[in-house]
């Protein structure tokens, strides 16, 4: 195992990684920006190095500073956490060339999975369903109708160069198809400088279900079951849980097997997550694979008892996984709420400022991952995630009850947070029944 690891991240995930390191007897080196001098991860680390100014580009994203810090501190490995440089293949390469182990998959794996069409190809090869659609660009209505013949309505027209909803149009019939195509093309042209669009089956209000993978050094790949991350607002996850309350045992088995197959096909090593969309009839489609630890890895840890960060560290140091597939037992249910410094009343605008009083929830079946403390000033430069509250129960109902209790007793004074809004989700009947889709948050906001 490593002796010293540098954590190239901040906030709750840096704290989380340090906890795993300390339990494995690894010394930790924190890096921090000028704005983060008082952040908890700096305090918890064995050593800490200021690497740059407050904006991420000048600190947490500034590769030379991080590499230099790693060299000065003489660490053997860097854990990138999530966000920042976690899925930057170039950074992983530089680490390699400096003989510092990047705690994650190979640069090649990151590149492969980072490219959507390469990833789709891989999924296809592995025999995993992907959202059906045109093979490449669709030029006109005739081409589009040919695709529809195969996949059926509704479909979505998407800009090839797109993202963020621009250049996207949904069509439910031939008439709408023509308009959708021309509108999407002109929007794409305006937004991205290219009118190229493609056509895909439109999955209406799907569920977002993902599978946690651990891939060892000898090609041994296990899954830790699925997480349901359907509660999202504009592609931001708010609440995650494991197991998913909405898929059958059969679908669960299938997607877990599929996820392993994709990782196998990709020659993947390290922890990773394979994401699927699941429609109302149990059809599932591969979307992408995340080549890092997820924010919501905690719910999987709660139901399996496997420490995912420790497994990442074991794999990166050349050791084997501490567990085999047949040793993985899932017990009970876990739910995570992301407590963000955002004002739900003002379009979830990120908030900064001083937290005058912070009282985390405690007691049985509650886990809190956070860098908060009373008197901490939330800087305006980074992610608004303040804390993750995870509730465990023998079953989903118990987990919900515990989460409600935990949110009720949690105190964050000084900055608006998403706690009141999360309470509404947790108390919602549709959530209680597990019977909700990706439009739940929209509906609550109406």
């Amino acid at each position: 195992m490593f002796e010293t690891v540098l954590i190239a991240n901040r906030g709750e995930i840096a704290v989380r990684i340090m906890r795993a390191c300390k339990e494995l007897g690894i010394k930790t080196v924190a890096v921090y920006s000028k704005a983060d001098r008082d952040c908890l991860h700096v305090r918890l680390a064995d050593d800490a190095i200021c690497i740059g100014n407050s904006p991420s580009a000048e600190s947490y994203l500034h590769v030379p500073s991080i590499i230099t810090a790693a060299e000065i501190a003489n660490v053997e490995a860097i854990h990138p956490g999530y966000g920042f440089l976690a899925e930057d293949a170039h950074f992983a390469e530089i680490c390699e060339s400096c003989r510092i182990k990047f705690i994650g998959p190979s640069p090649e794996s990151i590149t492969k999975m980072g490219n959507k069409s390469l990833a789709r190809e891989m999924a296809k090869k592995a025999g995993v369903p992907i959202v059906p659609g045109s093979e490449g660009v669709v030029k006109d209505k005739n081409e589009a109708l040919k695709v529809v013949e195969e996949i059926g309505y509704p479909v979505i027209v998407k800009a090839s160069a797109g993202g963020g909803g621009r250049g996207m149009r949904i069509a439910h019939n031939d008439l709408a198809m023509a308009t959708a195509l021309t509108t999407a093309q002109s929007e794409a042209e305006a937004a991205f400088g290219s009118p190229d669009v493609y056509v895909e089956k439109y999955i209406e209000h799907p569920r977002h279900v993902e599978v946690q993978i651990l891939a060892g050094n000898k090609g041994n790949i296990i899954h830790l079951g699925e997480r349901d991350c359907t509660v999202q607002r504009r592609h931001q996850k708010l609440v995650e849980e494991s197991p998913s309350p909405a898929i059958s045992a059969d679908v669960r088995k299938k997607i877990c097997r599929m996820a392993r197959r994709i990782a196998q096909e990709a020659g993947y090593v390290s922890a990773g997550t394979v994401e699927f969309l699941v429609d109302g009839r149990g059809n599932f489609y591969f979307i992408e694979m995340n080549t890092r630890v997820q924010v919501e890895h905690t719910v999987t840890e709660m139901v399996t008892g496997v420490d995912i960060i420790k497994e990442q560290l074991r794999i990166a140091s050349g050791e084997e996984l501490s567990i085999e597939q047949k040793g993985v037992r899932r017990r009970g249910a876990a739910i995570e709420c992301r407590i963000n410094a955002e004002d739900p009343d003002r379009g979830f605008m990120p908030q900064s400022g001083r937290v005058n009083l912070y009282i985390p929830p405690g007691g049985p079946n509650v886990r809190v991952d956070s860098h908060l403390y009373s008197g901490y000033t939330v800087p305006s430069f980074y992610d608004s995630l303040l804390a993750k509250v995870i509730a465990y129960g023998k079953n989903r109902e118990e987990a919900i009850t515990t989460m409600r209790r935990a949110l009720d007793e949690m105190v964050i004074e000084g900055v608006p947070t998403t706690i009141p809004f999360l309470r509404r989700i947790i108390e919602d009947n549709r959530f209680a029944r597990g019977d909700y889709r990706m439009n739940l948050v929209e509906e609550l906001l109406e």
Binding site: V42, D46, D47, S59, S65, T68, A69, G375
Partner: protein
């Protein structure tokens, strides 16, 4: 003073939450510094707990007290401080030396790149705060300079 004594002092520091310990034998000097307790007040902030193993200064944020017309040149990056352009060359600056704005005062090496650090003003170097070859953090004070 041998290793055993140093070990004892380190233990002493550990046990008593000391963050600084200085000792000079000629003429004798001693300086102890405890970790400051964090105070929850709007003004107070958490002290940076710094490297005990790394040869880094306690906190780059605590700038040395400066007289009215004395400024501090800080490191613009994390790296290794070099006082001279090569081991055989004389240092760029020495205490008492006058420098002009944009005169090179030192080199910070980061990822094998030698970055020349210029003075930001005209003045006289009054103190050099780091030694040759020492690692430095971002924003760490390097020189004290008295403005002209």
């Amino acid at each position: 003073m041998d290793l055993e004594e140093i070990q004892k002092i380190v233990n002493l520091m550990e046990e008593n939450n000391l963050v600084e310990f200085e000792l000079e034998k000629e003429g004798f000097r001693i300086a102890l510094k405890k970790a400051q307790p964090m105070v929850v007040t709007p003004a107070a902030t958490m002290p940076t707990i710094m490297a005990q193993n790394l040869p880094l200064p306690e906190s780059a944020g605590e700038e040395p007290k400066t007289a009215e017309d004395t400024e501090v040149i800080v490191s613009p990056m994390v790296g290794t401080f070099y006082a001279a352009s090569s081991p055989d060359s004389p240092p760029y600056v020495t205490v008492g030396q006058k420098v002009e704005e944009n005169d090179i005062v030192c080199i910070i090496e980061a990822m094998k790149v030698m970055n020349e650090i210029p003075a930001e003003m005209n003045g006289t170097i009054t103190e050099i705060l780091v030694s040759n070859g020492e690692p430095v953090e971002y924003d760490q004070p390097l020189f004290r300079i008295k403005k002209d």
